[in-house]
């Protein structure tokens, strides 16, 4: 009887220990979609975070047309191009759940440049149609990193839209700013000419020759113009997390009419930033963090300063509202 009571107490204790663990839901990794960025992390301890990504092929808008839109079949993470912006803290462990639905026509995986280990995760996340792969990866080093699908052929998976950014904040966080934005440059290679109205299709040969039809910000021509333009106010400090998914071109990122007060080149946010930069080079598969204060209202144009690319879509707008500053900028005659 005594033994039974002891056994019961032990079982109850195990159950008490196990229940919270089973019931406790792992926190979700904060994510957002371009041009939004998740709020800065407030935690002062590392955590294990779950990141759910689902791969899918989605027919979507590549460019608005005067009579019909240009559409494209994008290969995506979570149905969007670019994929989500993921924000974690150095020391966090990311538990990635990568689901590839049954109706998928190919396998997918993920290579996060933030991850240390073979393939950056690709080697342990290859999901066949109908599979979900789960992997745990510790975020050892702070920085802004690109992630992308690396299933063979990796070229096609990147060229068709499977990429995004992950920010690993240093433990002390980043300096406070007023606004943060997520901008990602990439190319699309199509058989039909730019602006073709209807469903345009992937041209592997053009991709191989590195001759893009479209060079775009945030997954589509006009991704940062009209009602999709970035917004800010005079006096605000703005930070852009800028990534370049390629697959081929190096970006010369520039904001017309602004000077970057700080540039964390290559996404190396624990390095000393460069000061007063006009244009920053961002390699394919790389990123940069730029910060600038806004002193004069008006429209500022984001470009890849390899300037002909603006006609292929590598152009966006930052609309700044506020009081004029004639002591800084004014017409005389």
């Amino acid at each position: 009887m005594r033994r039974l009571r002891q056994w019961t107490r032990t079982a109850a204790a195990i159950a008490a220990l196990a229940m919270p663990l089973a019931a406790q839901e792992m926190a979700e990794a904060p994510i957002s979609y371009a041009p939004e960025v998740p709020a800065p992390i407030q935690r002062d301890q590392p955590a294990t975070l779950r990141l759910n990504l689902e791969t899918s092929e989605v027919q979507g808008l590549l460019m608005e047309g005067i009579s019909e839109p240009t559409e494209y079949i994008f290969w995506t993470f979570n149905g969007r191009v670019p994929g989500p912006f993921v924000r974690v803290r150095q020391g966090d462990t990311l538990e990635l759940h990568l689901s590839n639905p049954k109706n998928s026509s190919m396998s997918h995986n993920i290579d996060l440049h933030a991850v240390t280990g073979p393939g950056g995760g690709a080697a342990i996340t290859l999901a066949q149609p109908g599979e979900t792969k789960i992997a745990r990866m510790k975020m050892l080093k702070a920085g802004l990193y690109v992630y992308h699908c690396a299933a063979p052929p990796v070229t096609d998976h990147i060229a068709n839209g499977m990429y995004g950014l992950i920010l690993v904040e240093p433990p002390q966080g980043l300096p406070k700013v007023d606004r943060e934005y997520y901008v990602l440059q990439s190319e699309f290679y199509t058989k039909e000419e730019l602006g073709f109205e209807g469903l345009t299709t992937y041209d592997r040969e053009k991709a191989s020759e590195e001759k893009p039809t479209y060079v775009v910000f945030n997954g589509r021509y006009g991704g940062l113009t009209e009602d999709r333009a970035l917004k800010a106010k005079v006096g605000e400090k703005t930070r852009i997390f800028f990534g370049n998914a390629g697959p081929n071109l190096v970006s010369s990122f520039h904001v017309i009419g602004e000077i970057f007060d700080k540039v964390y080149a290559e996404g190396a946010i624990e390095s000393q930033p460069l000061a007063n930069v006009q244009t920053t080079l961002v390699p394919a598969g790389g990123a940069a963090v730029v910060e600038f204060a806004l002193e004069v209202p008006g429209s500022y144009t984001l470009v890849d300063h390899s300037i002909f690319r603006i006609e292929k879509g590598a152009v966006g707008a930052l609309q700044v509202e506020g009081e004029e500053a004639p002591e800084i900028y004014s017409a005389v005659k």
Partner: protein
């Protein structure tokens, strides 16, 4: 076609060097820089004032567009025009018939991105309106009952151009079809 009957700008009285043109590259540059749109439907009048003048007035003189030989036809309309006035459509100096010439032009302008924050940028809605306006306006002034007036206007511009810019004239018209590509 009936909708085009009420507009007949006085083009023939306006063959003067455009005030904004210092040197002309095409005969069209020598023509008027404005048109009378008072007989046009209100949406086209509005597009003319708010979009057409803003865009073309900023980029260059509006005369090249106003006096361009280009028209955008649907096949049915073109066939009717050819049947009624075969002579105007057979001369590319007078009319260049296209399926989507204005649409391509507007797309081209829309793709010209802003560089300074001051130059006009076409929104999608403005681009659509501008395209519709250009199609309507060119059909209204250049075809149907106004085809003959238009033809005389174009020939006067060309003669004027020949007198003022003989070298450029030869460059343009030495190869008969060259105007098709350039003067749009």
């Amino acid at each position: 076609m009936a909708g085009f009957l009420f507009c007949c700008p006085a083009l023939e009285a306006s063959v003067e060097l455009s005030s904004t043109t210092t040197s002309a590259l095409y005969p069209a540059d020598l023509g008027p820089v404005e048109i009378d749109v008072s007989g046009y439907p209100p949406e086209h009048q509005n597009t003319y004032r708010e979009v057409f003048l803003k865009v073309f007035g900023f980029l260059r003189t509006t005369s090249r567009v106003i006096n361009s030989p280009m028209v955008e036809f649907d096949p049915r309309l073109e066939e009717a025009e050819r049947r009624l006035r075969p002579e105007t459509l057979s001369d590319p100096r007078i009319l260049v018939a296209t399926r989507d010439g204005w649409k391509k032009k507007v797309e081209e302008i829309r793709r010209r991105p802003p560089c300074c924050g001051a130059c006009p940028v076409l929104s999608l809605q403005e681009a659509k309106a501008l395209w519709k306006f250009l199609v309507y306006d060119s059909l209204a002034r250049k075809t149907g009952p106004h085809a003959e007036t238009w033809s005389r206007h174009r020939m006067r511009l060309i003669e004027l151009f020949r007198g003022r810019y003989p070298e450029r004239f030869n460059e343009l018209y030495a190869v008969p079809n060259k105007i098709k590509e350039e003067e749009k």
